[in-house]
Symmetry: C2
């Protein structure tokens, strides 16, 4: 068997797994944004009929999973595994969603990069024959994140200009060994990069170097360049981080130009919606991928996508202890063709 | 290629990855316990020379990783990937250990099952040819856990009889495609089981059903029975959970008897050391596996081991919200022979 390892940190899938189905769920603010019509389900009720925001997050995951399975024509018991995670302490959004479902479950923590991490591992497990059909699932919730990472909502704290708005949303994708695609061609696993940014209200600046490093490694490992992709999209760098990545590539003489976008910038009309630098959270890249982006791929408006999940691996405690912010970025190539 | 999938939730490794080296680090109480002499490094200083308990946890991981790499005769840059996680909110023990090391890193959250989850994914990635050499690494710390999950240490809270003592320890294993073993033969991925236990001071009772379900699935999927293993070991069920697993099997007419042990029971002399039901935490099964157990395998005193990481997937918040405790157990077969 030809080896799947490429260069420093990439894998190639010789039998590219297919995305059988995908679904996204989002909140009121997201429904009111530029991508509002692309989510499968939105709710005006921030609690999604639940008693707490944390349970609402579990409910969003449940809905995204059920919708994706329904579209794939599969039942839960036909899944060989699920790769799940979220931002809540101890990833309880995912664990509670998966309890007593009888689905073999791998818990992940990649902060906001989780959708890319789960897709990578899903593709790895299907391509290698460990699993036939698997689920990649994640979520975030503005209100549960605010109270866990920042301030109680009722406190009404002022947001800094570099702040981002955690997306209330979930995304689910079902990956299988057979299907019409889009297909997962390869993946680049991120290293953890910390360039010393200490401002927890400026995650874009903290994560941009990780995104740059992973993209560079991806192009080097696979011998590709930005021109080989119709679209390169980062998860949630927001306006500032997005600009920093463009600048970092410019210094190398590479102009990403119109083929580069960021899910955090796409999801909100930042000015009108008072979202400052844009969206963030696991649910940001998950709901944009499992809605807007994959829908465009189904319509062949995007044929080759480099999807890069970005995550800031800080905790409120590390910030209080004066630490800087380690970050990670994982990249997956998604294509309408099997090569 | 013969498929790697087996039964409901197991994988078989056709080219069994080898454990190239392993190392463990532990604290003072663990050094004073029955396995004290099996840890590579112990410290009387709970802070391991650091300013905070959280940084101490990162320091333990760093030391375990460095020792394991040293024993394997490898440098960090020779690792194709690391599978890491811990109990701290946002898994900061691991993320801070891995930052700026240039090692492709997958972040995991499996609560105290993390050592088994990381071994499974490490073996999956090596067996399939994605990686040549990878690291599985995890830790826990009594003091950082107490303040995060329970009470400030200075409060001096009374512990209930079913309480367990979070192990201060870390374990690291380097897995590769070539080597003299022990070898990773197969893995059974756990489903998330919640039988309604709500007492966060009784994790053994919460996790026992998950351990039972995974063991049952393992035996069914692979057509084995307890007699096929020299030792079956769960991660941190403690005295009560250990007895519950034995009872659950007894009801099926299966007596696990002397071939079944629990790392949480092995690591402390519970009476003398005031550890109540025994040890717990990611570091419990990690430091017992990457010391005591694998040392015994190297000496051929154990030839076939079924290593079962157990994790309670609760958070302090879900307990406050009146929720029960979802649990998981992942199992890996480790053998001195390649089959």
């Amino acid at each position: 068997m030809e080896t799947a390892h490429r260069g420093k940190q990439s894998f190639v899938f010789h039998d590219p797994p297919a995305i059988l189905a995908f679904a996204s769920v989002a909140g009121k603010k997201e429904a009111d944004g530029p991508l509002g019509s692309t989510f499968d389900k939105t709710a005006k009720d921030t609690k999604f009929g639940q008693k707490t925001w944390e349970k609402a997050e579990t409910q969003m995951q449940r809905t995204a999973m059920e919708l994706a399975l329904q579209k794939a024509g599969l039942r839960e018991e036909q899944l060989d595994a699920a790769f799940v995670g979220d931002l809540l302490n101890q990833c309880v959004g995912s664990s509670f969603c998966m309890r007593n479902r009888n689905i073999p479950t791998f818990g992940l923590y990649g902060a906001c990069s989780t959708m890319a991490e789960s897709l990578m591992l899903a593709a790895m497990s299907v391509n290698a024959g460990y699993c036939r059909r698997v689920l990649a699932l994640t979520s975030s919730h503005f209100a549960s994140s605010e109270r866990q990472y920042r301030f109680p909502l009722a406190y009404g704290g002022q947001r800094t200009p570099t702040a981002q708005w955690t997306v209330t949303g979930a995304g689910a994708a079902v990956i299988g060994s057979k299907g019409d695609g889009p297909f997962l061609l390869n993946a680049t696993v991120g290293t953890i990069v910390d360039d010393g940014i200490k401002d927890a209200a400026n995650m874009g600046a903290a994560m941009a170097p990780a995104a740059y490093e992973t993209l560079r490694a991806h192009f080097d490992d696979l011998g590709t360049s930005p021109e080989d992709y119709d679209l390169i999209v980062t998860g949630d760098l927001g306006k500032l981080g997005f600009r920093l990545v463009k600048d970092l590539f410019s210094r190398d003489g590479v102009e990403l130009e119109e083929r580069y976008r960021d899910c955090g910038v796409l999801i909100f009309d930042c000015e009108r919606q008072d979202a400052h630098c844009g969206g963030s959270g696991c649910g940001c890249s998950a709901s944009v991928l499992c809605g807007h982006l994959l829908q465009k791929m189904r319509r062949r408006e995007i044929r080759k996508l480099l999807f890069c999940g970005t995550g800031a691996l800080l905790s409120p405690l590390t910030t209080q202890q004066g630490e800087s912010i380690p970050s990670v970025c994982h990249a997956v190539t998604i294509s309408t063709e099997r090569s």
